[in-house]
Amino acid sequence: MASAGFAPITHTQRIELKAIPSGQGLEFVEAELFLRPEIPFAIIFYSDNGIRQEDGMRMDLDKQIFLDHFEDQAREDIATAAAPAILDQIFDFFETHPPL
């Protein structure tokens, strides 16, 4: 199936996440941010027992929730607890970086 003809995404930036609550082997390390206003999401990357995971977790910045979840409740609780600190660092970034 052909592409719908839109330009590739070029306006993203990754930021390092610092001192995010962690546990159960999970550590949230990086966020990929869309600098264009029409994409209200971020992708949060994490390591699992020290191994960086290829898949990130989608976060809705308006709803301030993860769109992806862990099946294990203890891990899900860690992600839920980490979300406010992750959002703080993302919004701190946007406050100093106007939309493209």
């Binding site: 995404i9 999401f41 709803k63 992806d68 939309p99």
Partner: protein, 188 residues
């Protein structure tokens, strides 16, 4: 017949599984449809939900598709599904705004769904990225202007309506047969 769209980012369920072959299923098919579940689904992303979210807007579905668990590329794109539904099918199509509006309190009621913030408050709710500060700012109080500082009220009803409007969102209660999935477009 109205046309709807659904984005599937790389690594997500409907990217790994081809809805043209299987149709769409909600996460919890056996649950009843209630207003509270609908609001939790739209505003809170509840995983225990009997609904499938669709959008009237291709750009909204595309935004969801582009923000997958991995970045899409020309070789490994994300998908936007095109879905056509018709009346008389064995499914229920719900507009969250219409359903919530039926439940809103009278304007005589002391408790309102409406906010009590400044004029730009709703725009901040709709788009948080560059507006967090205004969401948290204490609201000016009527004269004499004293009282405990607090941000504006944001009811779950108003928040849900804002989220549904952002996404031009409609909900299907039940499953969507594969015959309704008319196309799948690559986006990256």
């Amino acid at each position: 017949m109205p046309m709807f769209f659904k984005g599937a980012g790389r690594g997500t369920f409907w990217h790994l599984r081809d809805a043209r072959a299987d149709g769409f299923l909600p996460q919890s098919l056996m649950l009843d449809s209630t207003l509270d579940r609908m609001m939790q689904h739209v505003a809170r992303g509840s995983v225990h939900s009997p609904y499938v979210s669709l959008s009237r807007s291709f750009p909204v579905a595309r935004a969801y598709a582009l923000a997958g668990k991995q970045r899409p590329t020309a070789k490994t794109p994300a998908w936007v599904y095109e879905i056509e539904l018709s009346e008389g099918m064995i499914l229920e199509l719900l507009d969250p705004l219409v359903e919530i509006a039926k439940s809103l309190p009278s304007p005589w009621d002391r408790l309102s769904y409406q906010h009590d913030g400044p004029p730009e408050y709703l725009a901040s709710v709709l788009s948080m990225k560059w507006n967090r500060r205004s969401l948290r700012a204490p609201i000016p109080q009527p004269p004499p202007g004293i009282g405990t500082p607090r941000p504006p009220n944001l009811s779950l009803q108003l928040e849900t309506m804002a989220r549904a409007m952002r996404d031009a969102e409609v909900l299907v209660f039940g499953s969507i047969p594969k015959e309704c999935v008319k196309a799948r477009y690559a986006v990256y």
